[in-house]
């Protein structure tokens, strides 16, 4: 396990190669994480591959609502030789949520980036097939965002549709649930 100084050394090496890549480091409960600028993700992962972290185990999204930049993507790196793990974290703002895709170089990220796109709306530039993966294709909104309401998923039945209303409509024929942003 790299200790806190080891993490700083690694971050410093990374700064030497890519000056603007590192935004910060954090060491929490015995595990290190490097915060990076979104545009540098390709170079950072390539650098880490050279330093032994040759396996990308997980890509997942986080929503830091109400902080800005709000959306986060995290990459869990694994070194199978030194038995070591490291997290790479990046943050993007809600109004420009785009991150370069790592799928061309790390095939395992394919489905996982699609899931982050589906659940958080982070757009991965250069992804070969960026579509929704778990939610229906015509679904609006990104359900894992913190401001997406829980419960009350509308289900439209054909009989209600024929009558011109469904059960999400109140007596005044207005939607019971406020429309969420798409």
């Amino acid at each position: 396990m790299p200790d806190a100084p080891g993490l700083e050394l690694l971050a410093q090496d990374l700064r030497d190669v890519h000056a603007d890549a590192v935004v910060g480091t954090e060491f929490f409960r015995g595990k290190g994480a490097i915060q990076i600028a979104p545009a540098a993700i390709d170079e950072v992962l390539a650098f880490l591959r050279g330093r032994g972290f040759a396996h990308l185990m997980s890509v997942h999204g986080v929503d830091y609502y109400p902080e800005e930049p709000r959306l986060g993507v995290q990459y869990e790196m694994l070194d199978r030789e030194a038995l070591d793990r490291l997290t790479v974290k990046l943050r993007v703002p809600l109004d420009a949520p785009s991150v370069p895709s790592v799928t061309p170089k790390w095939p395992t990220a394919n489905h996982q980036e699609r899931e982050v796109y589906d659940m958080f709306g982070v757009v991965f530039d250069g992804h070969p097939d960026l579509r929704r993966i778990l939610m229906p294709e015509d679904y609006e909104g990104h359900p894992q965002r913190r401001d997406f309401p829980i419960g009350g998923e509308p289900v439209l039945f054909t009989v209600a549709e024929a009558a011109g209303k469904d059960y999400t409509m109140g007596a005044d024929n207005k939607p019971k649930r406020a429309e969420t942003e798409s």
């Binding site: 929490f28 409960r29 986080v62 793990r85 095939p107 489905h111 778990l134 894992q144």
Partner: protein
Amino acid sequence: MSTTDVTPYRSGEERIDVTQRVQTLPAPPDQELLTLNMGPHHPATHGVLRLLVTLEAEVVRDLKPLIGYVHTGIEKTAEDKSYWKAIPVVERMDYLAYYFNAMAFCGATETLLDVEVPRRAQYLRVIHMELNRIMSHLVWLGTSMLDLGAVTVWWYCFRERETILDLFEQSSGQRMHTRYFQVGGVMEDIPAGFEGNLRKFLKKMPDAIDQYLDLLNRNEIALRRLRDTCPLDEQTLLDLGVTGPLLRASGNPWDLRKAMPYSSYEDFEFKIPVGTRGDNYDRFAVRMQEMKESVKIIEQAIDGLPEGPFITEDRKVALPPRHELATSMEALLHHFKLVTEGFRVPPGEVYYPIEGPRGEYGMFIRSDGSSKPARVHMRDPSFVNLQATEPMVRDAYIADLITTLAMMDPVLGGVDR
């Protein structure tokens, strides 16, 4: 009288060479491609998995898995519950590996809280996780052999699975989705009689595994469908992030229980079975041997089960014992606080990976300091492993696609969450 006369129906046996198989067919030039929709309601897909298969005659040329049919928003639901009330929903992700889901979640929460789990609780967790691993592999073996047309094996597998579920019922009151693991330890100590029943099971299980192997290892149909079908090399598997028995079948002995031990796994002696060719037979054989190793681990854990508390003494995290409520005001307060609000967790982000029956179950939790997690995400091995289907079955027969899917053992509850 020669032997051929005695068994005329087996006269062709010597001519069957299971190592010789046609993997790629040179396609006739006028073959056209056919896109076939398999699933979502197809018995051989082990759940609601839909595959869009492009066929050239009987050969698979392309495949796209379409998932999301059992997406129930478990991660979102868990974010709306206090930590200890989220355990039951998290358990339902990969419904064959509920102890592992709970372990990943509790482990991540304990890391955030910096709570130490007593040794007895760690051993009890190991016993239940390994029983769960055997149970999961038994369901896999039974259903996948059903796909290959061997109905008998299923009955034998479910006979042993029943014994394991009875043990779960004895220790926690539930047969499935037991919610036995608690943040800081386990819910209850094992009851009297559990150890005896467990030892009876451990004595019987290795013979039972040999029995399954007797049914299959000399079965022409099973062997011809498994041997040398749909192999995939180690490097491709690593690039695709595949973990668990699928990776070990290709010869890579990566197992988190050995490599980066958690929950006292470093105390136990066991071997990691690996394959040599990475074909479907190796995937089958690795899991069969894994069950035997699990039996060994449980034996060591029950023999060396330490005395002591089964859950942490930290009253801010674990419920006080029932008898204290009648006499201690403080215990009553703690009880009330835990049941109504739950415990608060210091802010931070943790990724807690463990080795489950299908590979790496990695639980990511972000805490914002409140009593509910701000983000729960499971890196489910079925979800990641599913990406390897296409490279495995490309240019193989469609019959081998069924076999490969069975040997991949995806659990769609885990894929879709």
